[in-house]
């Protein structure tokens, strides 16, 4: 996956949060924006951590 695709996938996740707020007919606050970004990073951390643990426990799976 290229850098651009990763950036697009991440921005899409953020856009989803923004759209949800718009659907509720309100402006998104700074708090919500930052919380959404934190949530995206939490998910990326979990996924990376899972990959690392899987490979550390069984390097032959690479």
């Amino acid at each position: 996956m290229s850098n651009e695709l990763i950036a697009i996938s991440i921005m899409a996740e953020l856009a989803r949060t923004l759209l949800l707020a718009r659907q509720q007919n309100r402006d998104i606050t700074d708090e919500e924006l930052i919380a959404a970004a934190k949530g995206i990073d939490d998910k990326a951390r979990e996924a990376f951590e899972a990959t690392l643990q899987r490979l550390e426990n069984n390097p032959s799976n690479r």
Partner: protein, 266 residues
Amino acid sequence: MSAEELKELLSTPLALFILMLGASFGSAVKQIIVSRNAGGYISLREYFFTHWPETVVMLGTNIGAFIGLIMTDALNWASALGVGYAANDAADLLTKKGRSDSITPTIQQVEERLEQKKEEQVIRDELNKNQGGFIRPGFLMPLCCFLVIVLNTFALNGCAAFDKYLSAPDQKEQSFAERLRDAYLAVASARRVGDILVQAEKISIKDGRNLQRQLNVVRDALDVADEYRKIGNVPNAESKLAATLLILEELETYLKEQQKLQENPT
């Protein structure tokens, strides 16, 4: 001598005692100036030596207060300044016909001073007329305000105002929250790239683990910056964010290099 060493030296009891005496001296100078402005006349020598009982009381009060402050662990810059200043003022209460009487101008001295002030005012008015009326208070005040605004805008902000007007109209400066959000997203991007690279065997598991650890540090720092933002401590929040961005840039450079290697293995 470093700033810390100088600070330590100035916080010694001896330095603080000198500060107390300095504050008393400052109080004396203030009294003399006030007296002279009101028409009285008393010299520094007369103030301290002719009225020696007050001087002795002032010194005694300072010494006593100094010992008291040390014993109560209350000796610091603020207390030394305050007590020193008050010690000299309090000495005036000693005798009615003492120093306090000398620094109070007589009615005759006050009248002479008022007369002198009137003459000074006449001369000042004459000088203002001769100046041609170019700079009068009514003009000077807006002129000063204008200069302050111009200096502040162009000099202190590094001509940022020019950039603002010359740049594209839709170019909007990002708020701190937006920059913080982008930093969180950059961390998430770096994790995903790292995840892909480690699975593709372009970086070792150890490198992947190290990357994850460093990104965790960046994330923690961003959380701290966010906490500073929440309590309104903008300078600390900005400096924390700036520091994390530097680490992120280094990590991203590393990841890009690895990605290039993946795309062009030769």
